[in-house]
Assembly symmetry: C2
């Protein structure tokens, strides 16, 4: 049911990734103008991730009707398959942002406007009409009451400590393709009252060449209130160097909603990875042009991981840094299993592990 | 998850209509070659029924993606709307048949083959591919384990007392369009082991001119073990006279699985109702021919009602008999509310109230 009130006043706040979760959702990849080779390699990768996550929490794969039987045949029985139409597969961006009551007992959702990361200005596909219904449909499927917001944003464009603080990027929230004419001041107020937070910290930009326009989840992740990991590189020749260091300077000086300084863990990104010619050529052209080009850089970072109650699932890129990141994360999450999974196929479709899993808070 | 065993041996039996239910499902009507005027009058009627039932149990309307927004806007918030594709709207026929464990604590389902009441021989439409997936999809949606059967039958072709007895009709189960070559003896054994019953009582036919070929639910309904209502007429000029009286003779002589004789309540059908020219002309032609003809008789009977834990919903046909049937049913169900609802639109699409609601047993 749609709420006519405001989350902040109702005592609801955005749930953090590390908060307790009751279930997880994914969307099934299929569009051949985004996923190479008719989506088959991505479908295998999504199957592997959903299978792994289903060891830790109930998992549901949401699929378009025409892919139901294929998805059901590829996925293990531990993953539930449910029809729910969408235009693409980035459920954390497309689906609702979940809120919790202060006592953690109630869950609500927010349905923001979604326009494929920039609509007709610089969005990634058209139409996005089915995506834009996913938040409402999913709330209804779980009988979760939801708020509607007029802001255009995707779930991965905001991260929270679950304790009053929200991090986001100007490049996304204030982009012409999403919220043309919106000022930072008005956006700050709207984010506060809609996501139930007290303080917004703005970074200017996200990860280098992120095709979302710079969603924050490739840059920063909260481990706990006051404690974050930050995508990092010491290589001055890497264009990512500037935005990582700029973010560090902002976060080092800022305090959170409770007045705490952040403990920042630098999480070294892998050596740059590039799309191969074979990968680029496996994608259907749009209006005669390939949407992806051989040699384009992939937005590879370990910061895009999945958090469940008992485990963390990190991306593997097939480089030496994988092992270092894994060991590092084990220290940050001493109470959870830390596992990893090959993630390249998620990246070839423009996403990361964090973007393709939507967890519902609650016991 | 699909079970590889047999319900009978696993201690599961088909739930009766009067058994306790946890929730109800309906499918949204939309096909213009079955429902007049683009389905709009039927959609209003389904909305009215779902609204009424939602007073007594959680109700979910299952809809094709292209009708989601329309259904959501027409239905009250008390009815959940969930995407689930189908070819038409008779969910009790199309969906699973639910089973319960002997202690009533566990629910399972059976997925029979469905071919639109007779496939290419005498079925009502083609294709029926989406309908045939509904039982599996709905079981999966509710995380209910299911059995598969090779028999072709629809949910309304069998009624049970929940106590070992099953009633069905030869015209349906043994029809060429459904189970060509199947003998009564083999069918009897298969029904026993698949629906967990000990005794099958066969009627030769169902209701006069029922376009399903004669599903039993328009003829007979169990009020309790050993106690049934039977569609009845004393009018010898009515072609229904023969089948009602033939059914009475069979049921009078038979005993149920526990050796009880049946207490049979004769439920007088309304005076014959016929499709109007306007109603017939509102349906899209199939291959150039109207699927329904002005003046054709509607399968109107009060036996096609809906049972919930706390209420019975009877059809109203706008005739004097409506009130008599209502009073009669109040006596048979002294512990439940007995309400009624205009039912003509359901009949113009070939169904009745009992065919459009699927209740899930359980607490």
């Amino acid at each position: 049911m749609k709420m006519k009130t405001l989350p902040y006043r109702d005592g609801f706040k955005m749930a953090a990734d590390f908060d307790e979760k009751q279930a997880g959702y994914m969307l099934w990849p299929q569009r051949p103008d985004n996923w190479r080779d008719g989506g088959k390699p991505a479908q295998r990768a999504f199957t592997q991730l959903a299978s792994k996550l289903s060891k830790y929490q109930p998992m549901t794969m949401l699929v378009n009707e025409n892919q139901y039987k294929n998805a059901r045949s590829m996925l293990p029985v531990s993953v539930r398959v449910v029809e729910l139409s969408s235009n693409d597969a980035f459920v954390k961006d497309i689906g609702p942002i979940y809120l919790q009551s202060t006592d953690g007992q109630q869950v609500r959702a927010v349905d923001f406007n979604f326009n494929a990361w920039g609509g007709l200005v610089d969005g990634l596909y058209f139409p996005w009409d089915k995506d834009n219904e996913v938040a409402k449909k999913l709330s209804e499927l779980d009988s979760i009451n939801y708020y509607e917001s007029t802001l255009t944003l995707e779930g991965c464009s905001v991260v929270t400590d679950g304790d009053g603080t929200l991090l986001t990027t100007e490049d996304v929230i204030l982009s012409e393709g999403r919220n043309k004419g919106l000022t930072k001041e008005v956006a700050t107020e709207q984010l506060k009252e809609t996501l139930g937070v007290n303080k917004i910290i703005w970074l200017s930009e996200g990860f280098y060449l992120d095709e979302t326009g710079g969603d924050i989840d490739n840059m920063v992740s909260f481990i706990a209130p006051g404690e974050i990991v930050l995508s990092w590189t010491e290589d001055k020749s890497d264009p990512q160097y500037v935005s990582s260091h700029r973010a560090f300077e902002v976060l080092k000086q800022e305090t959170d909603a409770r007045g705490r300084h952040f403990r920042i863990h630098k999480l070294q990104i892998p050596t740059p990875l590039f799309l191969s010619k074979e990968e680029a050529n496996g994608v259907d052209p749009i209006n005669g042009r390939l949407p992806r080009i051989a040699g384009q850089r992939l937005t590879a970072t370990y910061t895009s991981y999945v958090t469940t109650n008992r485990a963390i699932v990190l991306p593997e890129f097939g480089v030496a840094q994988d092992e270092i990141a894994l060991e590092q994360m084990k220290k940050y999450y001493p109470d959870r299993e830390v596992e990893s999974i090959p993630a390249r196929e998620f990246l070839t479709g423009g996403g990361g592990l964090h973007t393709v899993v939507l967890n519902v808070p609650g016991v």
